[in-house]
């Protein structure tokens, strides 16, 4: 059954997909950092949603959705409106090109992210495995 994007259920499903993704585990094996994937309000989404993910040496240790930006203080924050996230998840926007054109705004240590581009691509690959329903 399709899972609604930007929900607690969806980010937990992504966490599970990542933990089953061998290529991701390999690409991110020396990497650690926690993220807010921030979904900015657009269309019927009226409030900002913060999707938290703790990525640790090729595994996802924790994931949840919140509306409270202060719930955690992650090392990285990547933000975009709903429609841009949709393009990434549906592979119409390459995440690296998205960052370079600032469609995806990333705050945090850029150099550490650039060292593992393959991990970024594999996160997107895992997203595509979730049957996702988008709010219009």
């Amino acid at each position: 059954m399709a899972i609604k994007f930007a929900t607690d259920e969806w980010i937990k499903a992504l966490c599970a997909q990542l933990n089953a993704n061998e290529a991701y585990a390999q690409a991110a094996k020396d990497w650690e950092g926690d993220f807010y994937f921030i979904v900015e309000p657009e269309g019927s989404l009226t409030e900002t949603i913060y999707l938290y993910m703790d990525l640790w040496h090729g595994k996802c240790r924790e994931a949840f959705a919140t509306k409270n930006p202060d719930e955690r203080n992650p090392a990285y924050r990547m933000s975009a409106p709903m429609s841009t996230w949709r393009k990434v998840i549906e592979k119409q926007l390459d995440p690296i090109q998205g960052m370079m054109t600032r469609k995806l705004k990333l705050k945090g240590d850029m150099m550490r992210v650039m060292k593992v581009p393959k991990a970024a691509i594999e996160i997107v690959n895992s997203c595509t495995k979730i049957e996702t329903e988008f709010l219009e």
């Binding site: 290529a23 390999q26 690409a27 390459d94 690296i96 090109q97 960052m99 370079m100 054109t101 469609k103 990333l106 850029m110 150099m111 650039m114 581009p117 393959k118 691509i121």
Partner: protein, 387 residues
């Protein structure tokens, strides 16, 4: 949304005379000892004098330039205080000039920190001219550079749009009579840039035409430039083709052949162009389904019989191997001088490094670990890829 970026390109016979028109006071030339000894630097300096400019030279760039050399060069550059910087040479000299320029403008900064997202603040003190003396790397048009850190023994691949040269001078007099081996190696690099740019996941309308034209020029003129180093027309066409291919891949990146080539170059210390060229036909066969339509377009553009998308990869790969044989390039790993023992002992490292190379990510078909290993096995056996 994406960008198409290119320097101003000055090309053709006597293109170097553009230097006579430069406005500025002081130019700093970055090059290697060989070019300095061949008298190329004096030619450049003569033009700079005609422009009323003073010049200084740093001729210590080594192949695979190091962070340490670049720091030394930047120090000399600061003492001279140029308003123009000229990178003269192959990819190494042009990359070294880019890095020295960055350090000249930002004395406190660490080049290892160059990333595509930050503002570098270049062009406050000087602008950059790139003058290639081989026909291959395309570094005169790209915003990409590679340095080696001798301390950590790591290669740093750095990119930022600001690091692109302002002017590229593509003068064929600088490549006349290049030795055949260098012609072949660098020519295969240019061909691989053009083909990979056309089928990468970042390909775009603005770079596509450049790819096709470069591929056409290389098929026609590389064998001639290889057979007769003094063939002026072939030299000029190849020199243009390499820069055109540079403009293509500079805006739409490369693919898996470059990931494999970078890795083989690092593991076995073989020239970049020879390594990427060897990988290219295998990668095209591997990518036959995902890039089939686009490879069929290349086949058509070359004036060959139209092929169904499913066959185009094999036809083009065959055509490329034919070209490679004509110019004495290896098409299998044993022909490259790799023994079975060397191959088996390196295979795990080759596979792992290739998978993590950023160029592997923009291939139209993303290869798994097992597929990369198989590709190397096929390249060793010289077998057509069928998986």
């Amino acid at each position: 949304m994406w960008y198409f970026r290119t320097p101003e390109i000055v090309f053709g016979e006597d293109a170097l005379s553009h230097l006579d028109e430069l406005e500025g006071q002081r130019a700093f030339i970055v090059t290697d000892p060989t070019l300095a000894s061949l008298g190329f630097v004096e030619v450049i300096q003569k033009h700079l004098r005609a422009a009323g400019m003073e010049s200084a030279v740093f001729a210590e760039v080594e192949p695979d330039p190091s962070l340490q050399t670049v720091r030394r060069g930047a120090q000399t550059m600061r003492e001279f205080g140029p308003d123009w910087i000229i990178g003269l040479g192959g990819g190494s000299s042009m990359d070294a000039a880019k890095a020295m320029w960055f350090l000249y403008e930002n004395p406190e900064a660490d080049p290892a920190g160059i990333n595509p997202f930050d503002k570098l603040g270049l062009r406050r003190k000087a602008r950059l001219i790139a003058i290639p003396t081989t026909s291959g790397t395309g570094a005169e048009t790209t915003w990409y550079l590679v340095l080696t850190d001798l301390e950590s023994r790591r290669k740093l691949a750095l990119l930022n749009p600001e690091i692109m040269p302002d002017i590229a001078i593509v003068d064929p007099s600088l490549v006349i009579n290049l030795p055949p081996q260098i012609t072949a190696d660098t020519g295969m690099d240019a061909l691989t840039h053009a083909v990979e740019a056309y089928i990468s996941t970042w390909h775009n309308d603005f770079s596509d035409g450049l790819s096709l034209k470069a591929i056409q020029l290389i098929f026609e003129y590389l064998p001639r430039a290889y057979a007769d180093g003094g063939d002026a027309e072939a030299r000029e066409k190849m020199h243009n083709a390499a820069t055109i291919a540079g403009m293509a891949f500079g805006n739409s990146v490369t693919g898996l052949a470059h990931a494999m080539g970078h890795t083989m170059g690092a593991v076995w210390h073989i020239p970049h162009g020879r390594a990427v060229g060897l990988a290219l036909p295998y990668v095209l066969e591997f990518t036959r389904a995902e890039a089939g339509e686009r490879l069929a377009e290349i086949v058509c553009f070359l004036g060959m019989e139209p092929e169904p998308a499913g066959r185009a990869a094999y036809v083009l790969a065959h055509r490329i191997r034919e070209l490679m044989r004509r110019i004495g390039q290896p098409v299998t790993l044993p022909e490259l001088g790799i023994s079975a023992d060397d191959f088996e002992s390196a295979l795990a490292e080759l596979t792992e490094k290739t998978e993590l190379d950023a160029s592997a990510l923009t291939n139209a078909r993303m290869a798994t670990t097992a597929e990369i290993e198989r590709l190397y096995r096929y390249a060793f056996a010289g077998k057509e890829v069928d998986f």
